[in-house]
């Protein structure tokens, strides 16, 4: 026991440190055919010294990354207004800009930051949005992401998902020794990475609680896989399982009260449900095949999972009230690890076609299947809370990288790490303010 404790101390660090090495870099590879031209004018800084963050640049990058906007370069701007009085539409018509976003940032008190913004429609010559965001100066980037969310929703009709966060696993290889595994939390654009857990043993399957305040993951730090729950604000964590065999793929129910998971303690992998208050387990599937990768339908009434009970891995749906199981996927010989958008209609998964593994989307109403990616070894899809983008892991050369694709396949970008491998992205739900 003493020995075990020593090993734990030596190999596991629960950290909250900024790690520049784990930072993701964004490379947009494909945008929409006719993106909206928008000018995000540098925001006026109404405080001492220089602004703590170039708020306009964060917003500009968010909108560009969506693939639906083509932000005007600052060098092309004929004017840099920061108030409505300074906006002259002819300046923007001259450079074919459809929308202009201006704003002002200031610090009130010691640490409170306030960002005011106004959005103008150049063709209609009208202000179409105005508002402000306030928060701690250290959260300047998050305030900027919220402005981007408002602009995005005003212009597309879809809520933005920039003010959200990502979890992912990164690995630094250590040839001849044990690799370093890290569980990292970052902004949705990969900025501000925070290492939550560092270990010499694998870390897998990060997932979010529905309120975005807790996470769950699998860590091999005891030399066996076990499921842990961790509170983001305090770092406090609890080991939820430690069964013989697999302890994997934790998935929070939409109401936050229970967690679906994979256990093989009774001989082979089956889906179980844990009541998070009582820790009581209920076995849901009972089959000699592999049943794994549970995920919830947004209404909380059924769970999708992968099973090879038909010979090859396919997606099945388990109805929690009736206990009935039905097969959902029929196209292709390998469909696995489903995730369902909040609308309950778009199912994304790993789909094998022509020997390669791609991310595919199946419309659960029409059952039409669309392959979204053209890269190989694509895995671990995670859908943005607004349903617009799918983040996934893939390989570039022999390195693991993250990549994103819009649900219509039209927009693509890559997020390689500055070094090492990155994998298993988990896009957060909307964060409570």
């Amino acid at each position: 026991m003493k020995h075990l404790t020593a090993v734990l101390v030596a190999t596991v660090f629960v950290l909250a440190t900024i790690s520049a090495r784990a930072e993701l870099v964004i490379e947009i590879t494909q945008g929409m055919d006719n993106p909206t031209a928008i000018a995000v004018v540098p925001f006026a800084w109404q405080g001492n010294g220089t602004a703590p963050e170039d708020v306009a640049q964060v917003i500009d990058n968010d909108l560009a990354r969506s693939g639906q906007f083509d932000p005007v370069g600052r060098g092309d701007m004929l004017a840099r207004p920061s108030t409505q009085q300074e906006v002259f539409y002819r300046d923007w018509r001259a450079i074919n800009t459809e929308y202009v976003l201006i704003g002002r940032a200031s610090v009130t008190g010691q640490v409170q930051m306030r960002i005011e913004y106004e959005l103008f429609d150049v063709n209609r010559q009208a202000r179409v949005l105005s508002g402000y965001e306030e928060g701690h100066v250290n959260d300047a980037r998050m305030l900027a992401h919220r402005v981007a969310d408002e602009v995005y929703e005003t212009l597309t009709g879809i809520p933005g998902a920039f003010a959200t966060r990502l979890l992912y696993v990164s690995v630094t290889r250590n040839p001849g020794g044990k690799d370093f595994y890290r569980l990292t939390l970052s902004d949705s654009d990969g900025a501000r990475p925070i290492v939550l857990l560092e270990s010499r043993e694998p870390i897998m399957a990060p997932s979010w609680s529905p309120d975005g305040k807790h996470i769950a993951y699998v860590s091999f730090e005891t030399s066996r896989p076990a499921i842990y729950r961790q509170e983001l604000a305090t770092g406090a964590r609890v080991q939820l399982t430690n069964f013989r065999g697999l302890n994997g793929a934790p998935a929070w129910s939409p109401d936050g009260n229970s967690m679906a998971m994979v256990l093989s303690k009774d001989g082979n992998p089956d889906i179980y449900l844990m009541d998070l208050r009582t820790r009581e387990l209920t076995q849901l599937t009972r089959h000699y095949a592999i049943d794994t990768e549970p995920t919830w339908m947004p209404d909380g009434r059924s769970i999708l999972f992968t099973s090879d009970r038909g010979g090859r891995p396919q997606i099945y749906r388990y109805d929690l009230r009736s206990g009935a199981t039905e097969r959902l996927t029929y196209e292709g010989s390998y469909n696995a690890r489903a995730r369902v958008a909040q609308d309950g209609r778009n199912l994304v998964m790993v789909h094998q076609a022509g020997g390669q593994f791609h991310i595919a989307l199946q419309d659960l109403v029409t059952n039409r299947l669309q392959i979204l990616t053209s890269t190989d070894l694509d895995e671990s899809p995670s859908i943005a809370p607004n349903g617009s983008m799918v983040l996934y892991g893939t390989k570039s050369g022999d390195r693991g990288i993250l990549a994103a694709v819009s649900v219509d396949g039209g927009v693509k970008f890559r997020l390689p790490a500055r070094e090492g491998d990155v994998r298993e992205p988990a896009w957060s739900p909307y964060m409570n303010r």
Binding site: M204, R224, I290, T292, E293, R337, F357, E379
Partner: protein
């Protein structure tokens, strides 16, 4: 000069000790001539035991050499958890050695990078279980065997392509 004096004293003491020891050994021999036969018998017995132990050690060494020759990694085909004949032969060497001791082993199942991570965790477990079952059938008690799956998380070769993948689809006996 002082050092030489000390060395001289040590030499004198040693001389005295050797002389005393020689006297005492002579005394013992005079008193126990009746035990000679018993001593000879004991010597013969211990020689036989020694020979038997040497044989056993040699046999054990042979088993260990056999195990070292086959290695402790058993490879599998893509998406398969069936034990290949070569892996079976290698495992037989380990089983022969394990029958001579009470050591516990850990079987770590691994897969290549194709397919999803959780499905590969299940596949790695299947592979480790296949090896475990083979060992149990051949007389190794199941409580001596621990199985753990690492799925695709700990590759031997990081690259893609069959040359790398074939090295990663494995069970390691530790």
């Amino acid at each position: 000069m002082k050092q030489l004096t000390v060395a001289g004293k040590v030499l004198t003491l040693l001389f005295a000790a050797v002389f005393l020891a020689a006297c005492s050994s002579k005394d013992t021999k005079d008193d126990s001539s009746a035990a000679d036969a018993a001593a000879a018998e004991a010597a013969a017995r211990s020689a036989a035991e020694r020979a038997a132990m040497e044989d056993a050690a040699m046999a054990e060494r042979r088993l260990q050499d056999a195990v070292a020759a086959v290695g402790n990694v058993f490879y599998f085909d893509y998406d398969s958890s069936t034990l290949k004949p070569q892996a079976q032969a290698a495992l037989d060497a380990h089983i022969a050695l394990l029958r001579t001791n009470d050591r516990s082993v850990r079987l770590e199942g691994h897969t290549d990078e194709r397919g999803t991570r959780e499905y590969n965790m299940a596949l790695g477990e299947r592979r480790a279980n296949t090896v475990r079952d083979y060992m149990v059938v051949n007389g190794i008690a199941s409580y001596r065997i621990e199985t753990v799956s690492y799925g695709e998380e700990q590759p031997i070769a990081y690259g893609s392509g069959e040359a790398n993948w074939s090295q990663n689809r494995r069970v390691e006996l530790k």
